[in-house]
Symmetry: C2
Subunit: 406 residues, 2 copies
Amino acid sequence: MFDVLRGRRIVEGSAFVAAPLCVMTLAQLGADVIRFDPIGGGLDARRWPVTKDGKSLYWPGLNKGKRSLAVDTSRPEGREIAAPGDEADIFVTNFPAAGGWMSYDELKKRRQDLIMVNLIGNPDGTSAVDYTVNCAVGFPLVTGESRDAAATPVNHVLPAWDLSAGVSLALSVVAAERHRRLRGEGQLVTVSLADIAFATVGHLGYIQEAQLNPEERKACGNYPYGAYGCDFETRDGRRIYIVAITGRMWSELGKATRLAETFAGIETALGLDFRHEGDRFEASEAISAPLAEWCAERTLEQIELAFKGTGACWGPYRSFKQMVQEDPRCSTANPLFTGLEQPGIGRYLVPGSPLSFGASTRAPPVRAPLLGEHTNEILGRDLGMSDAEISRLRDDGIVAGPVETV
Amino acid sequence: MFDVLRGRRIVEGSAFVAAPLCVMTLAQLGADVIRFDPIGGGLDARRWPVTKDGKSLYWPGLNKGKRSLAVDTSRPEGREIAAPGDEADIFVTNFPAAGGWMSYDELKKRRQDLIMVNLIGNPDGTSAVDYTVNCAVGFPLVTGESRDAAATPVNHVLPAWDLSAGVSLALSVVAAERHRRLRGEGQLVTVSLADIAFATVGHLGYIQEAQLNPEERKACGNYPYGAYGCDFETRDGRRIYIVAITGRMWSELGKATRLAETFAGIETALGLDFRHEGDRFEASEAISAPLAEWCAERTLEQIELAFKGTGACWGPYRSFKQMVQEDPRCSTANPLFTGLEQPGIGRYLVPGSPLSFGASTRAPPVRAPLLGEHTNEILGRDLGMSDAEISRLRDDGIVAGPVETV
C-alpha cells in the first residue's frame, strides 16, 4: 500500500483477471475501491485454485484492499446503488457495457466528467479470453522442444495477456484522470485484450519479422531466440537456467566457470564474434556442452557459491512449493510480502505493490473483503442512507453481506 | 498516438524490453521522449529478430515515437547533455544507477522535483532477467505435457515479466507525476523485475495454494487449471482452442456444437455440476472426447461458420506468418495498425497504443528514430546550443548521429 492515489474513488464491476488486477493495482497505490458483485458472488467467486474446503484462493488474491458491495443489479434499485457517480467518478469494467445500464452514455448522466475504462475481448466486441488470444499470436507453436512448427501447440500457463491488460488498464485510468484534472473532461477508454496482444507482438518485432523474413520462426526449446541461455541439470538433480544477455554477463560467466578459454576456442572454431548476442545464440549448443558438464559436476549449493558476487546471470528452477520454501524473495524477508489472515481461509503471504514510491511509506497490504463486507458502510457512509432504508433494501433482497462464499 | 500526456518530457537511458517498452508506451500516449544511447548504439541496438542484412527489427519496435540522442556518457560533457533537468523532468532507466552519475541524489541536484523510475533485477540490486525470474516462480515446471513436476522445464517464449514490468513502470511514472502535480514533490520509484513476478504469482493465488494445499500443482498440458479449455485438430489439419470460462460460454458451446445433451450425460455420469468452472475442469478429458470428434469432422472454415454469432469462445492457433496472413486484427483493417516505412529496413505494420482514449483522436504511430537522428535538434532546440558548439561536440566525439546501426 502506498498513498499516491489517495482521494480517488473507483467503482469496479468485473470478473476474472485483467479488470480486477487493474483495480487492485490502483487500490494498492491508495485508491478507494468499491467492487460490486451479485448477491451470492460473481462469475469468479469460486475460481481455482481453491482450498480443500473449496474456497477460492484466486478471488481474495485479486481483490485485496477493495470494499465489497453485494447488490442485485438485475433490479433498477440495485443499479442505482452500484452505478458510479458523485465522488465515485471512475468506473472500471470488463462486462459488455455497450447499450445497457453500464454504457458510458447512461452513466455519464450521473456524472458528466466520468472516467470509464472498459476492457473488451476483440476490437469488434466479440468475446476473447487470454487462451484464445494467445493461440492467435504465434507463441504456442514456438514453445517447448524444437519441432515442426505445425505440431502440437504448447500453451503458456501464465495468463500473460490478462496481466499486461490489467496493468495497461490501470495506466489508462491514471492517464485519463490526469487529462480530466488538466482539462476538466472525462472520457471512455476502451481496451481490447486482443489488441494488447497484437500491439505487443508488434512492439517486439514478431509481426515485422513475419512480414519481411522468408523463414517462419521455429521452436528452439529453452534457448531464448537471439541470445544465449540454457537450462542445466546439477549434480544433485536440480535444474538451473544460465543466461548471458549482455557482454558483461557473458564475460563474467566465463570467469566464474573458468570456461572463458573453452568459449574462446568455440568462437574461433565457428568463426563467430561472441561479443554479439546473436552470435552467442547461433553457438547455443556448442556453448552449452561444456557448461552442462560444469553443472553436472556441482550441486546447486556449489553453483550458487561459484556465481555469488559475480556478474553471471542465473537462477534455479523452482516449483511453486520450492518457491515458498526456498526463495527469500518470496517471504517476509522481502518488504513486498506480509503475512495476513484471510477470514475463512487462513494465514498466508500477501504481496503489496511491486512499485516502491520513495516519497511514500510502504504500508502493509490490506486483505480482501468478504463478499458484501462493506455493503452497510457504502450505503450508509458513502450514499447517506438511513439504517431503516438499508434494512428495507436488505429485506427486499436488493443488497446483502457480509457472507463467506464457497 | 494519443495526446493524453502531451507536454511531458521524459529522458530514457535503457536497454532491452521493460524500460524501453515503458517509455514507448508513454510516447504513444503523447509524451515527448529523449532516449540517449552510446555513439554506435547501446546494448540492444543489434537485438534479434534481425533482417537478412542483420538490421534489428527489435530496436525500432520498442523505440517508436522517441527522439534519439547519441552521446558518449563515459565523458563528463556527455553526461551533462544526457542527464535529465529543466523541462525534461522525468527519468526512466534500467541501468544500475545507484552511486553513479545516474543516481537519484546526483540527478536531483539538477532538478529538485525530478521523478526517476529505476527498474532493477532483484530487490537486493543483483541482476535478474525475465528468464531467471520466470524459472524461480514455478511456471516452467507446469508448462507443456502432463508429466512429473521434477522433469525438464519448458520455458515460456513470451517475456511476460518484462512486459508486465514495462507497463508497471509506465503506471508508476504517471502516478508519480500526479503526486508531484498535487504536492510539488518529485521522487525515486524503484521497481524490481523479480518483485513484479513474485507479486503477480501472489495475486493469482499460486503462493497461497503452495502454502495451504498439500499437493504440488502439476502440469496439465493445454487444459487451463480450474476451467475448461482444450486444443483440437480440424479436418484440414489446423488446430483450434475452445474454452468455456463462463456459464454462458459453456451453454453456447453446447448449443453451437449440438453436444449439449452429450455434455449433460457426462455431467450426470461423473456426478458433477457443469455450472461450476472447477467441475468442468475435472471433466476436461470426458468433455474433450466428443468435441475432438466434432472438430475432426469439420474444416477450420466450417468451424468458424458454426461458431459465428454464438457466444462460444474459441480461436485458431496461428504461426507468426499465419497471423499476418490471415488475421484481420493484425492488419490495417484494425485501427491499431498503420503501415509505416522504417528507414533502412522497409515497410511493415506498426501498432499504436492499444488504449483507445475516447476524448482524444487516434493519430498514426510514429516510426522509430535512427540512432542519433535528433542529436542536433536536442542540442540546439532543447538545450539552446549554438551551431558552433554542436560542431565542436561532434568533432570531439561527444555526440553523433544520425546513423544506421547494423
